[in-house]
Symmetry: C3
Subunit: 364 residues, 3 copies
């Protein structure tokens, strides 16, 4: 596209800068880094700043992006900036212009699609191009959706993912978005967000069912231990590479996983980061049942619709009596895990591991 397009004027460039501010969807950290780099290249030329220290994650990422443009001419950078913004604007418009179906109001969520019918509220992770990685915004939206579903008149609530993945877990670019207080404040805020997020699962008052439509990673795996039933396609995998990232278990998995599968299987997942197939996860009790991918959606939803017809109070009270005894304990464990992670996130082991991951990803 850049080859055939006309040169972008300074006016085009300024318009593009204004359009960026009006984007309805956060374009994501990767795009933002690219925009930053093109802006700097367009306005200041090649990167001559000293390289930031390895622990200054955000500035390091910015520097990497800018520096990667090498000696790209200012005009080309300006042109690329305008085109990139243009592609973002056109990508965001069609979806916002689509007429919502008569049977449901436009979703109040940007990262989820939430629908309710047949006694079932379905909360679908909806960032398929990002493997449903969970951004800070998405954490907040899932909490809102769970709180609403807990109070609505549905019998059961379902979590599932749009596209090939269930969810690739915490969006690691969350780590690069540093607040003014620096890494310490970032770690503290993240621990609070995580704690509140997990508490929504602990406190959920009716049957909460995960329909795992594809691979699940990290926090999207650990929270399965707090769900009441887990149906998985045979294409799903279950992966918690916490040690690989210098981190430690969350979502109460340090308690629920050994309880569900015994310490010898839980250690291999949570400490050694072994990826399980759906059949393995089912044999170990994390998954309720596995279905062939070709019939997965049909079989699961037929079953869920039947379950949703059962007396709702009996189901809610049965869940209450099965889960209530552990609530206080789970809340305490959640706090403990978040405290440990808050320290972990500031450790060299973790910072280096996350940097390595992000830079490997950037090179691909």
């Amino acid at each position: 596209m850049s080859g055939t397009a006309m040169r972008a004027s300074q006016k085009d460039f300024e318009n593009a800068m204004n359009q960026v501010k009006l984007l309805k969807k956060d374009p994501g950290n990767e795009v933002k880094l690219k925009l930053y780099a093109l802006y700097k290249q367009a306005t200041e030329g090649s990167c001559t700043m000293p390289k930031p220290g390895v622990f200054d994650l955000v500035n390091k990422a910015k520097w990497d992006a800018w520096n990667a443009l090498g000696s790209l001419p200012k005009e080309t950078a300006r042109q690329n900036y305008v085109e990139l913004v243009s592609s973002l604007t056109s990508a965001s418009q069609p979806s916002s212009q689509v007429e919502p179906g008569a049977d449901r109001k436009p979703s109040a969520y940007e990262t989820l699609e939430v629908t309710s019918e047949d006694g079932i509220t379905k909360i679908m992770f909806n960032r398929p191009t990002k493997k449903n990685a969970i951004t800070t915004q998405m954490y907040h939206e899932i909490m809102l959706a769970l709180k609403a579903a807990g109070k609505d008149d549905s019998s059961v609530t379902v979590l599932t993912g749009n596209g090939d993945y269930y969810s690739s877990g915490n969006d690691l670019t969350n780590f690069t978005d540093l607040p003014p207080g620096g890494p310490e404040e970032k770690a503290k805020n993240s621990a609070i967000l995580l704690r509140d997020f997990i508490d929504c699962f602990i406190d959920f008052p009716k049957p909460l069912i995960a329909v795992v439509n594809g691979p699940a990673v990290g926090i999207s795996v650990t929270t399965l231990g707090l769900c009441d039933a887990v149906y998985a396609t045979d294409r799903a995998t279950f992966h918690t590479p916490f040690s690989h990232l210098g981190q430690s278990p969350e979502g109460c998995s340090s308690y629920t996983f050994p309880k569900i599968m015994g310490p010898s299987k839980a250690t291999e997942m949570l400490i050694f980061g072994k990826k399980l197939t759906a059949r393995e996860a089912c044999a170990q009790g994390l998954v309720t049942e596995v279905f062939p991918d070709s019939t997965f959606q049909k079989e699961v939803w037929t079953r869920l619709k039947a379950y949703a017809k059962l007396p709702p109070n009996a189901m809610r009270i049965s869940k209450e009596i099965m889960r209530s005894r552990e609530k206080e304990k789970l809340r305490a464990i959640n706090v403990e895990e978040c405290n440990v992670l808050q320290e972990r996130w500031l450790s060299d082991e973790c910072m280096n591991a996350v940097m390595n991951f992000l830079s490997r990803k950037a090179k691909l």
Copy 2:
């Protein structure tokens, strides 16, 4: 039989009424309802009473039975009454006249057969024509039998069923036999009975083994979580349709089942009422081992006789150290589950579900 019999006189009718009072075995609620209906039809003619409300279970059942006789003439009703009583009397006599075998004294139990040999006390549910459904009387007899077995000189105690079923669980006709205090008193009494019944399992002092000879339903499934070993024929199934009946888990299963099989499998059984095969129940840890039906009894009893020869104190003390830590907790959970059920039994959800079940059964 009614076609060829002579007309019953008023005298025959009165004799029959007296015989009913002398019956040694409770003929069961179904027969009692039939007797009631025939008596009313014989003495008052067709039912003209207004239909009772849906929550007045006993009167509704009585009204249904009487009303079902339509315009049956009084004399035919009287005749049918006399014949029904006659069949009950003759059915109850042979068994009471049978000479007990020289090798064992006549059982003190009406709903159980309890024997003791080779170091094993065997408590067999003995209502095969009723799928070993547990009546109020049977609850009391099982408690008595367990208390006696706990103190006798056997090494291990076995629970099993006579006939095709292990046990179809709580006899739902228990619900129709209302005391003077009405549903509230009924619910309270039932909760106390259930609590005491489950405490007998919690407190049982030596290895308690379930030999599951066929399908198991409801409380006969949940109590397996309190048994020390569970052997099942491959014909057995395991079904806890609590939600379907508007009820909630008992027998400490709200605690033992998630502990044994993890919450995601326990929920499907206890909340969604999924019926498990013997192999599934074994894979999930509820059942110790499954045997082909054709060799089930032989293989299991060979094994049990060998186990019963092991040092009995070592076995009792090993059970003590494995179970004692949880006793207080299990007792508290038992009380909690019974309290929740006491409320459940008075709920519209439960009353409607039980009525639907009984009326479906009546139509078959």
Copy 3:
């Protein structure tokens, strides 16, 4: 050998007695009993002492050994004594003269081989001719090795066995070595040793992995519940015949086993002494993964070397958060189990069972 050798003089006999005192390795209780019997026969002739009571284990064992020599002539006994000592001395010399490899210092342990490389400290049970049965000395050495491994700079620690067995468990000849205080003191000392031994597993601060290279019995099985991962060859079996020996579960297995595999499977192992195959132990969650014997060592060590490269602090902290909540509870359970066993060891059931076992073994 005795047929061709010259008659041993009294001088040879006295030399042999002195050599016994200088033996570097404890020759084991069986050999010591044989030495005792030959010494008595050589100096006093045939056994004419009254047979000791069945509960005086040591004297009974000594009497049995002496009495078994029947009317063996004094000279032959003296000759046999000298030859037996000679074989012990020559057997102990080669190993002590072997030059240790340049890459590791000579082991400080007599019953273990402990090595450390690639981030892995390997503690290998090293009594292959005794199926790695654990003597009192070996208990102490394992404790020392675990304490050292917990503090060294390795990432993970491995327990494994040399030879065909992982370990045949507690060396029952431990029971025959009575202190001056008699059985009561013996039982008390054994309970303290057991408690301290198990505490080393409870407190171990980094991933502890069992590489089960063959059959495991008794305490070498129960301690698997305190390991973080358990890899087994398909040739391994898992056997805890506590009831058969009149004993009760240790190693916190009365708690960990029901938790891992549910009470119905745990009872069959711990109370009824059922021996599990490796596949069964894996299905029940005691074992992490089973490998074909032909590729076992290669596959497991490849995997362990990869795991040992993961960030060590993350692994230690993840283990800490998974295990720390239970430490106090496990310590209390350990004390409780040891107290129960201390009483068990003095019971008739246990004494008879152990005597039967030792005498059966002696006859083979």
